[in-house]
């Protein structure tokens, strides 16, 4: 087995026992990147020199005996998390030359833990997309089928893990951007509770929905990475002032007696037989473990996508106003006067999907439309949150597919935004309610494409998701299947 094929937990033990050094591991991953990156295109920026320097520092730390569980493990971060001194573009031309003068809080945590930061992973421009096709740097390919999309917007992070171009990755999830690519690339990905991971240094798309989380091989690795990044950050006013129980404590526990809810609104929409089959099989596995299933209703989730496409673009229209050519990033070369500089810079710097959402949001917030759009969407959001709250009276977690179907072809939905938006039908309500959700592999389609299943828990019950995911992965081997590249 190649070094890049091991999980972080396995590598942690190998590093600890000095069976391998972080430098050897990092070199192996960099070599893998050298071999497959031209096919996959998981990265926007790779900094091999820095990665090797970090690996050497990690080796010293391991030798001196004060290594943490993730010291020396190579990781990719999504291109929307600020890395001090390294170009961070958010997948956009408008930030193609932006070098942050500071580290995002999560990046700081990775550094403190002695992890090896390989570089920044590709993403949909400003995290707006479900396929990683809207990136200014070109699309990322799905390692399972290079003609297909990896899901988005954290497509680069998911593909990097699936292709062995990183052991772990961080992604961000606003409407499904971790879970969808996790499902499409056959990896484990979790969106924690809103407020559980600091957003400081995460380039904002929709501030009330954005959340950082892990993408990795299995629930064990997810637990290791979550234990590093979950925590209160005084620099983020929306970060919850609380402490977190270690997720690793929930890796080998029984799920016997737990109840999973099946929302009929989600299952009614399932028209892909292979996805249905995989989900049914997963359900049977859980039943063997003593899990009970109960059907329930989330009456307002059908309005989730509509409300999301008012709230997220509204916030985005304001969040993205700062890209004006004045201070950093792109400035158009030719312009006549200040207003024209704004216009030309933004016309040149943003892609179509970003422009579409800025316009949607600007419209929704405009005087005379605010009540009909933004305020109504905010009310729907409250109702969806209540739906979940009620549902959790009858179950410990909710069980459903992550996406309606496996990964689609590159270009298939690029000219049909509505079809693209519908990809997130099962993931968006989770962001609307601020809940934690995990996607793990449930099986493969007949043409060898991963199918993901999603588990959703009440606020701050990340440990319950780890418990459920790891119990499933202990009795199944879907998560161990690798894309052949």
């Amino acid at each position: 087995m190649n070094l890049y094929e091991y999980t972080a937990a396995q590598l942690r033990d190998m590093l600890k026992k000095h069976k391998v050094s972080s430098k050897e591991l990092t070199q192996a991953v960099l070599k893998r990147i050298g071999n497959v990156e031209n096919k996959v295109h998981a990265y926007v920026t790779i900094d091999a020199d820095r990665a090797l320097a970090m690996a050497e520092a990690a080796d010293k730390r391991i030798k001196s005996g004060n290594a943490g569980p993730l010291t020396g493990i190579p990781i990719a971060v999504k291109d929307n998390m600020c890395v001090k001194g390294q170009r961070t573009t958010c997948g956009s031309k408008i930030l193609n030359n932006f070098i942050p003068p500071y580290d995002a809080t999560v990046v700081g945590l990775l550094k403190e833990a002695g992890m090896v930061i390989l570089g920044s992973a590709n993403m949909d421009e400003f995290a707006m997309g479900s396929s990683t096709e809207t990136s200014y740097w070109g699309p990322t390919k799905n390692p399972w089928d290079l003609e297909r999309i990896p899901g988005g917007s954290s497509g680069g992070s998911a593909a990097a893990v699936a292709a062995g171009e990183a052991i772990l990755a961080l992604g961000s999830d606003t409407g499904g951007s971790i879970r969808l690519p996790a499902a499409f690339c056959g990896v484990t990905g979790m969106k924690p509770t809103y407020g559980a991971v600091s957003r400081y240094g995460l380039v904002a798309y929709a501030s009330s929905l954005d959340q950082i989380g892990p993408l990795c091989s299995d629930a064990v690795d997810a637990a290791l990475l979550l234990d590093l990044i979950l925590g209160h950050d005084p620099k983020d006013s929306t970060s919850a002032p609380r402490s977190y129980e270690p997720c690793v404590n929930y890796l080998n526990k029984s799920v016997n007696g737990l109840t999973l809810g099946i929302p009929k609104e989600f299952f009614n929409k399932l028209d892909n037989p292979e996805t249905s089959t995989a989900i049914e099989d997963a359900k049977s596995e859980y039943e063997k473990l003593g899990v009970k299933f109960v059907e329930l209703s989330l009456p307002h989730v059908d309005y989730g996508i509509a409300a999301y496409y008012v709230i997220a673009p509204s916030e985005a229209s304001s969040n993205l106003a700062r890209y004006d050519g004045v201070k950093y990033g792109l400035r158009a070369r030719d312009f006549g006067g200040m207003i024209d500089m704004y216009c030309q810079t933004r016309a040149e710097g943003f892609g179509d999907e970003v422009k579409r959402r800025i316009m949607l949001g600007t419209y929704a917030l405009s005087s005379g439309y605010y009540d009909a759009y933004y305020l109504k969407a905010a009310k729907i959001r409250t109702l969806i949150t209540q739906d979940f709250h009620n549902a959790f009276n009858n179950c410990d977690a909710i069980f459903c597919p992550t996406a309606p179907s496996p990964a689609f072809k590159i270009g298939e939905k690029m000219n049909d935004p509505i079809q693209m938006y519908l990809t997130d039908v099962f993931t968006i309500p989770v962001n609307m309610a601020g809940l934690p959700g995990i996607s793990i592999q449930a099986g493969l389609s007949s043409d060898g494409l991963p199918i993901g299943m999603q588990l959703i828990a009440p606020h701050f019950e990340e440990t319950r998701l780890i418990l459920l995911a790891s119990a499933f992965q202990q009795v199944t081997d879907h998560h161990t299947k690798k894309a052949s590249l």
Binding site: F98, P100, Y102, T238, V326, Y374
Partner: protein, 480 residues
């Protein structure tokens, strides 16, 4: 038709916190351009705001002083507009649910009191500054002020004249300064004001169409701008015209307002709740703390000076214009408990020496309250005359020396030695026999002449009271 002006004022006051509203950068004025900045106030991608607790406390202080109801939950909102001095291209402000609402202040117009309603007080962040190159078509952006905490105090449209407007503004400013939350500097822009002005027929209650007037950076300019605007609107309406809703800029040089933008060109700020800042819960303990620590406000101090110290109302008004001056006065009274006398001195010699500014900056006053009290004691115990004291005070002000030092060095000690005075009296009477004869013959006005001569001979140092008394005795003696 007779019209009545309806004026509402929006005051922006910069809070004197050490750090900015949502980051830890210094708010110091006068640093090198862009020196007091960080990724947060520069609006870098990915940064987040964290509210300065001191700024909230200062806002609550003002809300309490203006008798406002404080909202238990308030919200920050984003006000979206593009300008290079606003790096995020939105300003963190408040829209629905400000910190405080429904307050009032009582202002004095002559000897009348008027209650002006306060609609709301909300917090927001300041913008930066653009500096335009005068040689090339280039502008520079200085973000030092960006993100400094401001409060906006919005009055009800209850002000009727430019005099009332000025009185209201002076009153608010005095409160802010008494609370130690704003330096009140209008030139530097830490206290600024916009006005909404409309007219309506005197008997009517419905509001007319308003114009918003901006760019008035002194009390005088506020009055000039409002007077002009009222006159302009009156002329327009009298001539049968209509007022259009617009924003007008005051030109201090020309003394006129002119249209900046019409309602159609007005910004749509697309306010919405700032998702980076959760609803702000103002703890009742904070309100209690602010109330318990509240200083005496100018109007309360003025009342006390009038009622307890017997200071005339006008003087009490002057003495309480600034907290510094009032506290100076009170300290002198503490050491020399004759409030009226102290008040007189401060109102005349003291303020004259402070160059007659309405609001003397006492931080650079060379005469301490202790020194002034010592000097007043010297007058009282007869060591110097009131007249000499004026000279002594000027010298104290110029040199910072104490009164007794100056009196000693210049030999200004009042002569109260009866022997020495008798000697001078006798000499003057002997030297002026003709005048003495006329006096004794009934021309008693000549006493003034003798007093003058005696004081002159004593180089002004003779105790005038004693001179008068002893001269009377001597003249009586000579008449016999």
């Amino acid at each position: 038709m007779e019209y009545e002006a309806v004026i509402g004022l929006e005051v922006h006051a910069q809070l004197q916190t050490n750090s900015k509203a949502f980051c830890s950068c210094s708010t110091k004025f006068g640093s090198k351009p862009n020196h007091n900045t960080c990724p947060i106030c520069q609006g870098m991608p990915g940064v987040l705001p964290v509210l300065n607790k001191k700024a909230l406390e200062f806002t609550v202080r003002m809300a309490v002083a203006c008798n406002c109801a404080i909202n238990e939950i308030s919200r920050f909102a984003r006000k979206n507009y593009y300008y290079p001095d606003l790096p995020k291209n939105y300003q963190i402000s408040q829209y629905e649910l400000p910190v405080a609402e429904h307050g009032w202040v009582d202002i004095a117009i002559g000897d009348q009191s008027r209650r002006i309603g306060i609609t709301r007080i909300h917090m927001e962040e300041d913008a930066g500054k653009l500096i335009h190159d005068d040689k090339r078509p280039v502008s520079y952006v200085d973000l030092n002020r960006t993100g400094s905490p401001l409060i906006e105090i919005v009055s009800e449209p209850e002000i009727r004249t430019s005099e009332e407007a000025a009185a209201y503004l002076r009153h608010l400013r005095a409160i802010l300064m008494y609370l130690n939350i704003c330096d009140g500097n209008m030139e530097e822009g830490s206290f600024r004001c916009d006005a909404n002005v409309s007219l309506r027929p005197k008997s009517e209650s419905k509001l007319g169409v308003k114009a918003e007037v901006k760019n008035m950076n002194s009390f005088r300019n506020v009055q000039r701008a409002l007077d002009y605007e009222i006159e302009r609107q009156t002329a327009e309406l009298t001539a049968g015209g209509r007022i259009i809703q617009e924003t007008r800029l005051f030109d201090p040089a020309a003394g006129v307002t002119s249209s900046m933008r019409s309602k159609e060109q007005a910004h749509d700020y697309r306010y919405f709740p700032d998702p980076d800042l959760p609803p702000l819960r103002i703890p009742p303990e904070l309100i209690e703390k602010v109330k318990s620590e509240a200083p005496e406000l100018p109007s309360q101090k003025k009342e006390r000076f009038i009622n307890e110290l017997g200071i005339p109302p006008y003087d009490a008004g002057v003495l309480t214009v600034s907290r510094q001056l009032a506290e100076y006065f009170e300290r002198v009274v503490e050491l020399f408990p004759h409030p009226k006398q102290v008040g007189n001195w401060i109102m005349t010699e003291f303020l004259r020496a402070m160059k007659g500014t309405e609001e003397p900056d006492l931080t650079c006053c060379p005469v301490s309250p202790e020194q002034l009290a010592d000097m007043l004691k010297l007058i009282e115990n007869g060591a110097i005359s009131g007249k000499i004291a004026k000279t002594v005070f000027e010298e104290m002000f110029a040199t910072g020396k104490s009164a007794s030092e100056i009196i000693k060095a210049k030999g200004l000690t009042q002569v109260s030695d009866a022997g020495a005075i008798t000697e001078i009296i006798n000499k003057i009477l002997d030297d002026n026999p003709a005048e003495l004869e006329k006096y004794l013959g009934g021309k008693v006005q000549l006493k003034g002449f003798f007093v003058g001569q005696i004081m002159k001979a004593s180089k002004g140092k003779a105790n005038p009271g004693l001179v008068n008394k002893m001269l009377d005795e001597e003249l009586k003696k000579r008449a016999c």
